[in-house]
Amino acid sequence: MNWTNALPVVAVFSSLLPGLLIFALREQQQGLRTGLNLLGVTVKLIVVGVMLWGVSQGLDFRVEAPFLPGGALILHGDALSLQFVSLSAVLWMATTIYAIGYLRGTPLQSRFFGYFSICVSATVGVALAGNLITFLLFYELLTLATYPLVVHRGTREALDAGRSYLAYTVAGGTLLLMGIAVLHALSGSPQFVPGGYLASVPARHGPALTVAFALLITGLGVKAALIPLHGWLPKAMVAPTPVSALLHAVAVVKAGAFGIVRVIYDVYGAETLEQLDLTAPLIAVAAFTVIFASLRALQQRHLKRRLAYSTVSQLSYIVLGAALLGPIAAVGGLVHLIHQGIMKITLFFCAGAFEKTLGVHRISEMDGIGRRMPLTMSAFTVGALGMTGIPPTAGFISKWFLAAGGLEVGQPWVVWLFVVSGLLNAAYFLPLVYRGWFSIPTAEWPEDHQPESGWETRRMLLLPTLFTALLTLLMGLLAGSALGPLGWSQLIVAREFPL
């Protein structure tokens, strides 16, 4: 085994091992726990950096182990997987720091951070999975590792949310398993190939391929929160904010969206899908989700729930981008995978900071919060504008490419879909910004914890928030640089669509 084999494994284990070790720690061993976490974070970031460099240089990071007949365990770092891996590595760093700040003084931290790390490992595994079987393995691990995080508070409400989460995701996972089994029966589970490995399956298997596609997309759509499979996501808001943040930005929902991208491009391939004409329903569902979830978001009076519905809506951008089967749309979808993550995590970080510092949960309590917490509110504003697609934030770039992609494949309605969606996004985000900056606080804050440092909130809560907000801006402003997500997405698409 040389080093190119080892790196994908290290990438997975750099969070898995600390996670397992953290379980064994006592509650009071805060320093050790933080140290382990940060060690894992550092190792992972370095590994991801090296892999990014390597893939751009054309190196192949691949490792294989026997697993099932016809389906080995393959970890493979290609351009697409690294897109997701980098996102999870960077946001894991931010969220870990945030979580340390957020959870200070609460019980059961070892359990929390243990599962948290496993959750990230599973995400990285999902990203690096080189075939469907491996994907399934990590996908299910993700389901399981996230559950304890969702119910971390241990209240009845949290447990209810957890139940709903499990009901959806386990059912989804089972359908995914079915779909994978169908494909496995047809062609085994070979490695993902740009352009899809099912192109060689004879045409008479068309119905089987169709059913498998439906199963796979339904299974993945649960995590990608396609309506009507989204029910768990808003409920899962009872989880501690770092969890919601990670859930929404990276781990769970992205695993679903990423899986859909994988299935579309590397399993079926654009050609096969066009022959079978399978994407039309998916596009319809995604488009419906984009609009309907926005309308639902408008109804919410609870900050995190509104953010959750916004996630539902935004995830379908990614799905839509992938399903349109055009290179520009694919760039839009892929880049939104990153952008949405960064922006949404910013918003959740802010929501968590409001909650921890001032006890603000409801939108109506946000009046004038910008005077009390200007930096956090600035970050929130950046995130909200990004979600709306206002330049110069990252969201604008994705939206531009998605809309252009729709035109490119001869679906001009997509442009107007994004217009309407942008308007709705503005309708549910800008009032918050207005409240924060321009309204005058009407009452006392529900609770006010002024930290001793004199900062507006705990530093551990503030710094990751500002970091991701800054990233949101930079990804929009510096979109043209080759190393940015946009450049990387174009690299992926160049490899996926050999023209």
Binding site: F23, A65, P66, F67, L68, P69, A72, L73, P107, L108, R111, I133, L136, L137, E140, L141, T143, L144, Y147, P148, V151, H152, R153, G154, T155, A158, L159, G162, R163, L166, V170, A171, G173, T174, L175, L177, M178, A181, V182, H184, A185, L186, P207, A208, V211
Partner: protein, 480 residues
């Protein structure tokens, strides 16, 4: 063959020996040690038998005492049987270790009885003629019932029900044996395999034997006795009953239909078995979901999981493809390990939390994390999520179904089974995540027994990583 015989003889000797030792003093501390040690040795021998058998791939026969057929007790060893011998010894070892550590102390009669159970299982596995099977079945039932009784008067009623039904079932089986002998004049299974025909009396005989075995093996719908018996038995006994005892009749059933019955009959019977399996999955799962007590939940889950096995058997008979036999035996192995873990964990919980209700598991992840992990991992294997053994088995059942479009509907059975299993497993796990009342510290906190509960869970939890080799090897093993 000698290794296998040793693996059979050792527990038998120990059963007698411990019986003698028990007589002399009230609670002899050597007895558990001897039993456990002997089980370990038996395991080693089973392993050796497996190794030789797997290497040679051969089938060996032995006529006990040198008598000739038909009067002789004929034993037969195949790789699968060797595997099962090892499995039986392994489960016995795990439960034995747990019983040794268990607090409060288990009744001293556990040791000879469990050794006897071990013996009868080993004999059942090795037996090569259908009458011997009857005897070993009876032995198995008697020792199992006796074991159930160990937990005191509260277990007498379920034990008695178990015994009576079991006796009735044995007699059904024996009636079938009589009919077959009357028809063919042969008891030896290898001989019978070639000559059985699909006539009325054979059908009737097979039916009688099947009904008896289903009752003994608690296969739906004849499972009604199982939940109570398993619930009221002492913890290690529950583990043995669920993990091993119900598998004995299943093994016979498999031999009966897979080896003896004419293919035409098997094809007819297959869908019935498979359908029964699906219903078992759903109804057993539902009962487990609604069960008020932890052990009842686990017991009903056995009923449900046997549905998978039944489904595997049915599909094997119906479609006549080897891979379903692999699925069947993978289920048995995975379920055995998982169930041992679950029952031991359930027992731990009853002792530590001081209540047998499922609701007592509130906050268990905080108070007894290791036990809870054991329960959870084993449960996840029951659901069949990767990379557990349950997943491996489910996969080998599911994947071949998709190769032909007209078999697809059966996959929905697996789908249903997964949903229902997930429902009852997560019902329990979810309770564990409630905020625990922090003040209540568990009593008798014994780390070793918790880890003993966790060990089989870990084994089964990571079983799929050996999936490729395991399936390939099992495919070879189940040939004979």
């Amino acid at each position: 063959m000698n290794y296998a015989l040793a693996s059979l003889a050792i527990p038998f000797t120990v059963a007698l020996l411990t019986l003698l030792l028990q007589r002399r003093s009230e609670a002899n501390p050597i007895v558990p040690a001897i039993t456990v040690l002997a089980t370990a040795v038996s395991l080693v021998f089973a392993g050796l038998a497996l190794e030789t058998q797997a290497v040679s791939g051969a089938v060996s026969h032995l006529n006990v005492g040198g008598w000739d057929s038909p009067l002789a007790i004929r034993l037969r060893l195949t790789p699968l049987k060797a595997l099962l011998l090892g499995f039986v010894a392994l489960i016995h070892l795990l439960t034995g270790l747990y019983a040794w550590r268990a607090k409060p102390k288990i009744a001293r009669d556990y040791w000879p009885l469990s050794a006897l159970l071990h013996t009868s299982l080993a004999a059942l596995i090795l037996s090569a003629d259908i009458f011997n099977l009857y005897v070993t079945l009876e032995l198995l039932s008697l020792s199992a019932v006796a074991l159930v009784c160990l937990s005191g008067p509260k277990a007498y009623t379920p034990a008695l029900y178990y015994l009576l039904l079991s006796l009735g079932a044995s007699l059904c089986y024996l009636m079938g044996v009589a009919v077959i002998y009357g028809q063919y004049g042969v008891l030896d299974m290898t001989v019978l395999a070639g000559i059985m025909e699909a006539d009325h009396s054979t059908r009737f005989a097979l039916l009688l034997m099947t009904a008896g075995l289903m009752l003994k093996g608690a296969l739906w719908p004849l499972h009604l006795w199982l939940p109570e018996a398993h619930t009221y038995a002492p913890t290690p006994v529950s583990a043995l009953l669920s993990g091993l005892v119900v598998k004995g009749p299943l093994f016979i059933l498999w031999q009966l239909w897979n080896n003896l019955a004419p293919e035409a009959l098997a094809r007819e019977m297959g869908p019935l078995f498979a359908a029964g399996g699906v219903v078992a999955l759903v109804s057993g799962g539902w009962s487990a979901f609604r069960a008020p007590f932890i052990k009842t939940l686990v017991a009903y889950s056995t009923v449900a999981q046997l549905g998978y096995a039944l489904m595997g058997l049915g599909l094997l008979l119906f479609l006549q493809e080897r891979i379903y036999a692999v699925a069947l035996w993978l289920f048995v192995l995975a379920h055995g390990l998982a169930k041992v873990s679950m029952f031991l964990a359930a027992g731990e919980m009853q002792t530590l939390l001081g209540s047998k209700r499922v609701t007592a598991m509130r906050g268990a992840t905080q108070t007894i994390p290791i036990t809870m992990s054991a329960f959870a991992i084993a449960g996840i294997s029951l659901i069949g999520m990767p990379p557990t053994g349950g997943f491996l088995a489910k996969w080998s059942l599911l994947e071949p179904l998709f190769t032909q479009a007209n078999h697809w509907p059966w996959a929905s059975g697996v789908l249903l089974g997964t949903f229902v299993s997930a429902a009852y497993v997560f019902r329990a796990i979810a309770l564990g995540f409630y905020q625990a009342p922090m003040s209540r510290e568990p009593r008798h906190f014994d780390r070793v027994s918790q880890w003993l509960a966790l060990l089989p869970a870990l084994l089964v939890g990571l079983m799929a990583f050996a999936g490729q080799d395991l399936i390939a090897w099992m495919a070879g093993v189940t040939q004979t």
